[in-house]
Symmetry: D3
Subunit: 293 residues, 6 copies
Amino acid sequence: MFFHKQELQYNSVPDQPDAVYARKLQEVLGGQYGEITVAMQYSFQAWNIHIPGKYRDLLYGIASEEFGHVEMLAKMIVQLLEKSPLGITEKDVQSDPTVAAVVGGTDVQHAIVAGAGARPVDSMGNPWSGAYITASGNLLADFTSNANAEMQGRLQVARLYHMTDDHGVRDLLSFLLARDTMHQNQWIASARELQEEGSEQLPVPSNFPRSKEYTAVSHQYINFSDGPDAAKGSWAEGPTPDGEGEFTYLDGPDTSAPMPAPTHPDSRIFGTTELPNTVEKAAGTVQDKLHKE
Amino acid sequence: MFFHKQELQYNSVPDQPDAVYARKLQEVLGGQYGEITVAMQYSFQAWNIHIPGKYRDLLYGIASEEFGHVEMLAKMIVQLLEKSPLGITEKDVQSDPTVAAVVGGTDVQHAIVAGAGARPVDSMGNPWSGAYITASGNLLADFTSNANAEMQGRLQVARLYHMTDDHGVRDLLSFLLARDTMHQNQWIASARELQEEGSEQLPVPSNFPRSKEYTAVSHQYINFSDGPDAAKGSWAEGPTPDGEGEFTYLDGPDTSAPMPAPTHPDSRIFGTTELPNTVEKAAGTVQDKLHKE
Amino acid sequence: MFFHKQELQYNSVPDQPDAVYARKLQEVLGGQYGEITVAMQYSFQAWNIHIPGKYRDLLYGIASEEFGHVEMLAKMIVQLLEKSPLGITEKDVQSDPTVAAVVGGTDVQHAIVAGAGARPVDSMGNPWSGAYITASGNLLADFTSNANAEMQGRLQVARLYHMTDDHGVRDLLSFLLARDTMHQNQWIASARELQEEGSEQLPVPSNFPRSKEYTAVSHQYINFSDGPDAAKGSWAEGPTPDGEGEFTYLDGPDTSAPMPAPTHPDSRIFGTTELPNTVEKAAGTVQDKLHKE
Amino acid sequence: MFFHKQELQYNSVPDQPDAVYARKLQEVLGGQYGEITVAMQYSFQAWNIHIPGKYRDLLYGIASEEFGHVEMLAKMIVQLLEKSPLGITEKDVQSDPTVAAVVGGTDVQHAIVAGAGARPVDSMGNPWSGAYITASGNLLADFTSNANAEMQGRLQVARLYHMTDDHGVRDLLSFLLARDTMHQNQWIASARELQEEGSEQLPVPSNFPRSKEYTAVSHQYINFSDGPDAAKGSWAEGPTPDGEGEFTYLDGPDTSAPMPAPTHPDSRIFGTTELPNTVEKAAGTVQDKLHKE
Amino acid sequence: MFFHKQELQYNSVPDQPDAVYARKLQEVLGGQYGEITVAMQYSFQAWNIHIPGKYRDLLYGIASEEFGHVEMLAKMIVQLLEKSPLGITEKDVQSDPTVAAVVGGTDVQHAIVAGAGARPVDSMGNPWSGAYITASGNLLADFTSNANAEMQGRLQVARLYHMTDDHGVRDLLSFLLARDTMHQNQWIASARELQEEGSEQLPVPSNFPRSKEYTAVSHQYINFSDGPDAAKGSWAEGPTPDGEGEFTYLDGPDTSAPMPAPTHPDSRIFGTTELPNTVEKAAGTVQDKLHKE
Amino acid sequence: MFFHKQELQYNSVPDQPDAVYARKLQEVLGGQYGEITVAMQYSFQAWNIHIPGKYRDLLYGIASEEFGHVEMLAKMIVQLLEKSPLGITEKDVQSDPTVAAVVGGTDVQHAIVAGAGARPVDSMGNPWSGAYITASGNLLADFTSNANAEMQGRLQVARLYHMTDDHGVRDLLSFLLARDTMHQNQWIASARELQEEGSEQLPVPSNFPRSKEYTAVSHQYINFSDGPDAAKGSWAEGPTPDGEGEFTYLDGPDTSAPMPAPTHPDSRIFGTTELPNTVEKAAGTVQDKLHKE
């Protein structure tokens, strides 16, 4: 169960309206790596988990905080939009380049659809999608996904920080940056703990029997491009992170198989084949009769 | 530039047709973590990179291999579909549960749309989407995303392995499992190398000035759920992976801010406000006059 | 802020696994009118509202309950999936039609992607979309949208009730049906209260000046089809619900305007026009010169 | 069958081009609540209806009018686009803020893709989606959905009215406002008629047996947030609109159930469990053998 | 304006219910090349056209027929669904493989969402999308798109013809096949007429000045794969269809350019660069100061 | 297999940065008819083909070139973005309309999400979708689709040519225009060759038996609009392109069928029917008992 309290976790009041910035802020609310994504991702991971106890509690504890971050961003956006100009008929557009930029750069659905309200979309107006989240039931994979989400999220907030000089907005962003720092640290720590405990190891999934893998190519870097520096990294020589072997480097593939012959499905699929594809137009051909069941 | 060779990297010939399995295999061709995703993700990361040399070469080298994996899966799918029954009018459906399952469980667009061909969709028929990929320009974030993609991908292939006993299919999957093992190892190695070289460190992005972050909450685990075991992990006490401090644990937030007052945008947004919202229906009210520009 | 408690609002334990039904249940979790939709819709309405007090409190109070309903459905789905067969290689498929139906009718991503976990998708596998929600800032419009959402939602739950005879599932559905009954009643009551208080009236938005509307056709039913019974309803004669006039009935339109002439945009748009569209292929035509800036 | 006449229902000629406004107008052509949505929604409701006669005739009669509204908007948009500047290479951009705003605020696909033509998209460029419509077969639910669609639609047109001062555009909008007024009135009247006739009543669907609903919570407002004013409305005390009881108010839930234990699906799903998840890397473990069928 | 008549263009009554086939038929109603697509595509082309007269009349004349085809398919689908079983609790599923296939192969939203009604989706449940249509304003391009749409459409109907033996369904399909034959012929004829009149020629757009094209490679087949038979077709030697030259064949590219150097955007984008990316964590570094405006 | 070479096919270096133009260029990279579309479309056609030899080699040869075009556009976009201003806090926005337009007209995800990188989206930010491609297995249909794709593509490039005066950009576009010229010619030549060889003819699919088509209407133009000029084209009289007959013209349909009666699905679908829809609210009605299994 979720309970709501009519307070925010941190101050979210801007100095002044800024409709263009409100649009940009939609990215970290409703984008691929916005707060809706992490709130939903951690929730589904908690619901799908196969282990009781600490990992589940960790997921629930952060998931619920993230819903509150969605709320802080939504409240910031509505305040940034509160006094936004309605559009190009406003007289001052005609003489002020800044206003022109504002008019050009807004999410026009903010006004037309939401009445100066926030929306579950990204900064280009794409609706938030359930396809953004990951909850596979394999915790090492999922915590790695979470670490990535927090890295991408903090990166986007950092970029947004330098696109405004509003003190109220920056204040909120400084808080979100700190929480993303924390959550990056947490998912990395939890991924390590999984491996130290032996619950999951590299390669994921570690409980799939290695004997069923074609291990001859499991540690071989096959370079399909012509950049020679690819051979110079720790991914091309030395021990592999899974502790199972040594990296080797190949300048192109050494396995190959012939391209399978083209398929010939049922003739009633009506694909084009080697045979003349015309049937007698009048009644009575053999092929036609075949088609009558 | 890309060049194509009419060979496959590995054997991709099934023992026998299986239209239901062909549908399932679409997941690792055109799903969120399918081969199209990794091929496109690594390509865009290579095009967007800010560093010449080894990291760029690494990206190009793997990206191009992945396009070949798309091809192997597509060729496998068309062979699995080659002899698939057209549908419920086939007589044997009426007496054979296996055929009934086949008819029920196929991607019907395989026959109707693609003529027993492969498609750029996942196992539920959702078209592949550009929203699946990540290419932020920050390499530690992106390599973490890549590690996750290979983990999710190998996990899905492992699950698919046990959903068939066709030796030809399993042979292909054993090869893909091995390549996913390799690529997991490579992205983890490259993420480490970035950190060891100091190009990028935790928290990502490491070159954002920490002084602009509200660091009071940067290492604080705030539990917004009631699971006490969340306090027991290495994410709640001890040193943080970024080497910047110690985790602390809070049983709920200790910061809060009042919910901002509702906004009151321009009256021509026609939202509902505290004031009576009816205007005089005849001409001539004050508000009406105001609206005439 | 949102807080989570590791309890459910109601019992959500099925008698036995049923992977086909788990797929169907996804509709009321992640479909157009599923619980994610109402949870997000009421939340955004609360964040976008222009009035403090009772309406805002109402929205927050129900929104937060709905997140808990998402959770109950997710937990039900994972239990229904727990023992689902992996696929067609299971021997019993070959002799049991019920298992064949199960294999044919499941969401295959439940196994391949989510590891027998719940997903933010509908019963056909479409990801939940932010485009499902409505939060316009006009409360009479939005509460009508909410009433519709609860009606569609209860209708879907009622249909699902008769697609299973699992007592545990039906028990949960009987609870959801009751809550949908309550919420239908609440949104209808709140829409009435808005009108009685005069905050908003028909037609929505009531504060748009009627003098700017072409009122000659504001109460005229113009039948663009040939069904004569359309004239027999209370929508074709008698007083209009907005209290502003009487319905009239027209057997087809009595206004018309000529189709505007085709447009002729800039020639560099390269559309096809009345003029010969070929240019001299050698250098030096007039049109060509025009294009050199 | 549908028949087309090369006339419009009303005048749709703008005073002058305005490419930014053309983009905004796309919202009511191809957006969530645009004319394509209502035309398709009423058509599908007519095709799916279970009753002959007046309700079906009503649906067909309005559906067909709405296709004409799509056409009027498309014709308006192409005229607004006819003389739009091609882009930033136009010299006057450099000195005129209004032109700068125009260049910044257009739908660039209007020029690049459609050649100064209209498109089936909303004002942010999202393609119209079949997921926007509702046609459930339950008429009280669907007419409520229709009332909402007309309210949201009229609200958006009203907002757009004040974003231009072009007399031709406003003339068209005044006509659309009037038709939306009419259609709001009609769907409300038809929803009432359904209830008065007893065809359908609250709660929807009224023919689902109430005995199968957990009626103890059917009229109980459970406040999951902390706003006390939620208790002050007609949705928290007094008779319920369905005539079945009295509203009661609860300050939080009084039912609860324990969170079900985490699930443990088939081990070949390769989720992370309590058990050590590593297998012997060499051949021959018990678990490995188990996996060999 | 569009007018509706409550008749169908052709008989659309099936012999008996078939819920699985109803799902398949959705492809040609709401799929990429279904009837909604052609109805909308031809309508938008008519609205966007730059020429009055015969081409516009042609577009309107067919567009309107196609809306009637949408209707015929919708009516067929609702009849096929009318007696479909509700699901797996029906007793007969347990003993009848055909019913098992039915249960497994239906669009479950047909029952849950639409109440045995038709939906604007394809055969895998993807909602119809405005992204399916083409209306560029260039008639030779668009008529070629139309010819393709009718080819793909007739192909899909032909495939569907052999997936049923219901006489009523086949009767409807035989009518649709004939209309698709007609429309293929019409779009090919109109594309020819455009070229014969000189309104538009190859290459499209023909009014773009050829002098601005890098014509050295305009008729050169550059084979980026290793299949030698590519050189054997009429696309590799002989006169080009545009009448401008002769095809030539190249076994790989003979132009090339160096890969541009990696870009180095503003440091506040926080991408990873060659430089050490760590800042002094305490206050006061040069870079940090730079970031303070 | 695909191999990558770190060179481009042609020069792709712009004179100067232009973030607004970078956004527009996304259309031909990731739009409906962008380079990703043709690369993927030709690849899937090659994988799905039923004929070995020249057609397959043709498809592979061009598909692989197109992936290189994706790369050229991506590299151009990153260079155009390299020095783009971060946003409205830059001082010069306040006094320069050109900069205002830039700020207003950019794809804001270029900066926030991709760090001044290219993205797999169109010019309005919609992610590339697998639904853009066509690969039906019928080569005449598919080559017609390919011809259309190259026409739409060249048209868009031609439009984009006149939206910039950057010599480097125009240089790249002149190359792409030439390749689109070539590919238009090739698909038209290959479609002709298919017909001359008799592999496929009009109407597509030509191997469907004409005797199963309702040929009475196969060559009849039925005008559902009121434009009389529709009768004046070569699509309304004279021989049909398929060589099977003569066009005839009808001023409206001469076939019709009654609208089928509304359907009455299972009562547990809870649709609204003619019967009173209320059940006894207390226990014990007949209908209620019926529903208890």
